[in-house]
């Protein structure tokens, strides 16, 4: 596709890949009349998803992320629960009216479906947003939401799955409470696992002065370990590997050599890119599998309508609440992009395929609907988001050369703001950030960073060095 720029400018790469997958699947099917390749959940969850999420975490702009963490958490948790509940309940309500014909499902099945289709998908968001270049605050909110809602999705999915398994009669209040508690356990547990492994990784990288060659190996292995450990403990593995990447980036980048750093960066990008490509192609291929196709017009159409409508409502409501607490307000235009950018992707598909069809009788319907929804959001919304962004004149990122002045004065501003916060007796972001960086400088860096790295890791110096390097070339 890269040979024809005209096409790629209009159509997002992910959409093209899905189409390619469809074509390939069609060829295979026509040739053999059997559907051979399919995206199995195991392959997806254990091999394809981790590199993408690790790449996201490792290169996450931490300051932006933590600065907007409140908003991100609100959208991720409340937003996803809202989407799941409303979609599931509405579908059930419509089912009761009989438009959908006869389906072998109860309320819980619908809620289960709602929970797996509700989550915004990080892979899809990354794939589409990286071609659109919206401003960083917007991007980080949508992307952060897509990463953090994994915990919610996992919990909801498992909770409803067990409910369906034990049958609707046995669901009591206690089970619901257990569900809520398990949410906290899963999310906090996953995060802690990630942080623990980040700590381990940074510590290991501190001592690898004499074994530089295998430094990149450590980065990948230990991060993957965090993913696996979380999976093993039934905690949120996406959260684990995300936070592993987020927390270790500073120390690892400081400790490892230049060549290792470059190696890590390129390998990570390559794996993430490759995994993304494979995921979308497989989505296309798996769709060409006549065994699983069950068509129910009303169900599919209504799902599409409901998820879009409820996402918009959810975003608007939450933004209204958030704007009371945020300094940088989120405008209507931002909200439009946020609602429109709520793409569903392969995670939903994999979860749907994972359903046990002895317990969930309508699994095939759910799977086919999921495929349609994913295709719709990725292809249609992916195609139209770029013109939409341009038409609405959304603020875009400007790719700028780092200027020494900006960094220097930026630092000065930070100090000024913390001082003013102290003087006016408030605890704000700057105060917290300062406290953290003091703590970090006194304890964490001493433990986790190599002595030689500790001296020279100042941001202003980094910009200075970069500029010097550029001049020298």
């Amino acid at each position: 596709f890269h040979l024809s720029h005209k096409v790629t400018r209009v159509v997002p790469e992910s959409a093209l890949l899905i189409v390619l997958g469809l074509v390939l699947g069609g060829i295979v099917w026509a040739a053999d009349h059997i559907a051979s390749f399919a995206l199995t959940p195991i392959v997806f969850f254990f091999y394809l998803l981790p590199p993408i999420v690790l790449d996201a975490g490792y290169f996450m702009p931490n300051r932006l992320f933590f600065g907007n963490l409140g908003s991100i958490l609100l959208y991720a948790v409340i937003g996803t629960v809202w989407n799941a509940a409303t979609t599931g309940l509405s579908l059930y309500g419509v089912y009761q009216t009989g438009i959908m014909g006869h389906l072998n499902s109860g309320l819980l099945d619908f809620l289960l479906f709602g929970s797996l289709i509700a989550a915004v998908d990080p892979v899809a968001v990354l794939a589409v947003f990286e071609e659109v270049h919206v401003n960083e605050v917007l991007f980080i909110i949508v992307f952060g939401e897509s990463l953090l809602n994994d915990a919610v999705t996992v919990v909801l999915y498992h909770v409803f799955e067990t409910f369906v398994a034990i049958g609707p009669e046995k669901v009591t209040g206690i089970e619901c409470v257990k569900g809520v508690v398990s949410f906290f356990v899963v999310s906090l547990g996953g995060t802690l696992v990630g942080i623990f492994f980040a700590f381990l990784l940074s510590l290991v990288c501190r001592f690898t002065k004499h074994v530089r060659i295998i430094e990149p190996g450590f980065v990948f292995i230990i991060s993957y370990l965090s993913y696996l450990t979380a999976e093993m403990l039934s905690l949120s593995s996406i959260l684990a590997i995300t936070f592993c990447g987020i927390c270790c980036q500073k120390y690892v980048k400081a400790n490892i050599s230049e060549q290792s750093s470059t190696t890590v960066r390129y390998t990570m990008k390559m794996m993430a890119s490759g995994a993304e490509t494979i995921i979308f192609m497989f989505l296309g291929i798996s769709a060409v599998n006549p065994d699983i196709w069950t068509w129910n017009t009303a169900f599919i159409l209504l799902t599409l309508v409901f998820i879009s409508v409820y996402r918009v409502i959810g975003v608007v409501l939450q933004t209204w609440i958030l704007n009371h607490y945020r300094m940088v307000q989120l405008e209507i235009i931002d909200q439009v992009v946020m609602s429109y950018g709520g793409l569903r992707g392969a995670v939903a598909f994999a979860l749907a395929v994972l359903l046990d069809d002895t317990k969930v009788k309508e699994k095939n319907l759910f799977v086919s609907t999921t495929i349609i929804v994913v295709f719709f959001t990725v292809i249609f919304q992916g195609l139209t988001i770029k013109p939409l962004v341009q038409w609405l004149k959304v603020k875009k990122t400007e790719h700028r050369e780092p200027k020494l002045n900006e960094k220097l004065h930026g630092r000065a501003f930070d100090h000024i703001l913390s001082a003013i916060e102290d003087i006016s007796g408030q605890i704000g972001h700057n105060y917290l950030r300062d406290k953290w960086s003091n703590f970090d400088r006194k304890f964490l860096s001493k433990v986790l960073m190599r002595r030689s790295a500790q001296k020279s890791r100042d941001q202003i110096l980094n910009v200075f060095h970069e500029l010097n390097l550029k001049d020298a070339i």
Binding site: M327, V328, E398, A412, A419, G425, D434
Partner: protein, 195 residues
């Protein structure tokens, strides 16, 4: 709100401060109780020692200079009006203000005034320019003691080189504004004041 705090601040005063700075009624009363809690001498004004008593300010590299910014030229005490006037620089710029009348005096928290505040922190001798030495001093305070003087010097030189347009090896206010034109100063120099 203690009874002492509210009796000492008359409503007309609050109105005047509101008009001058743009803070809301509740923000002003809240900041007033903060002012009185800092005022250990209980004489209605703050001295430099009162500020220095704030623990986090002591480890802030620019702490002393910021404290100085509160005190008008040559004075050692600042009253509540002056306190609020300085804090007003950091109010976020609200949308409804942008369309207010252009003929009135510029609000204290305009972009230009925010930048001016920062500029004054660098420019100690108040000659309207940041010289190499002044920049070097600030750099040394902010970047820390691990860097050699040479390196600091080159950083300072480079910074001036980036910004300097009229070739006087110093940064004037106009050059300062120009070099920061792409930075979202409204956001970077504002804090949300609680109600």
């Amino acid at each position: 709100m203690g009874s002492r705090a509210s009796t000492l601040l008359r409503d007309e005063e609050i109105e005047e401060i509101k008009k001058e700075t743009g803070f809301s009624h509740s923000q002003i009363t809240r900041l007033y109780s903060r002012f009185t809690s800092l005022d250990k001498g209980e004489n209605g004004t703050l001295s430099r020692e009162d500020f220095q008593r704030i623990p986090e300010l002591a480890i802030n590299p620019l702490g002393d200079r910021i404290i100085n910014a509160f005190f008008p030229e040559g004075e050692d005490q600042v009253n509540f009006r002056g306190f609020m006037r300085t804090l007003a620089h950091f109010r976020p710029i609200e949308d409804n203000e942008k369309s207010k009348d252009q003929n009135g005096p510029e609000p204290l928290n305009s972009r230009s005034n925010k930048l001016h505040f920062a500029f004054r922190l660098y420019d100690l001798d108040k000659d309207g320019r940041i010289s190499r030495d002044e920049l070097l001093q600030v750099l040394r305070m902010m970047v820390g003691v691990n860097i050699s003087d040479e390196q600091l010097g080159s950083i300072a030189d480079r910074t001036i080189q980036e910004a300097d347009q009229d070739g006087d090896s110093a940064i004037s206010f106009a050059e300062f504004v120009k070099v920061l034109e792409k930075v979202d100063v409204e956001q970077k120099m504002s804090i949300r004041f609680l109600h």
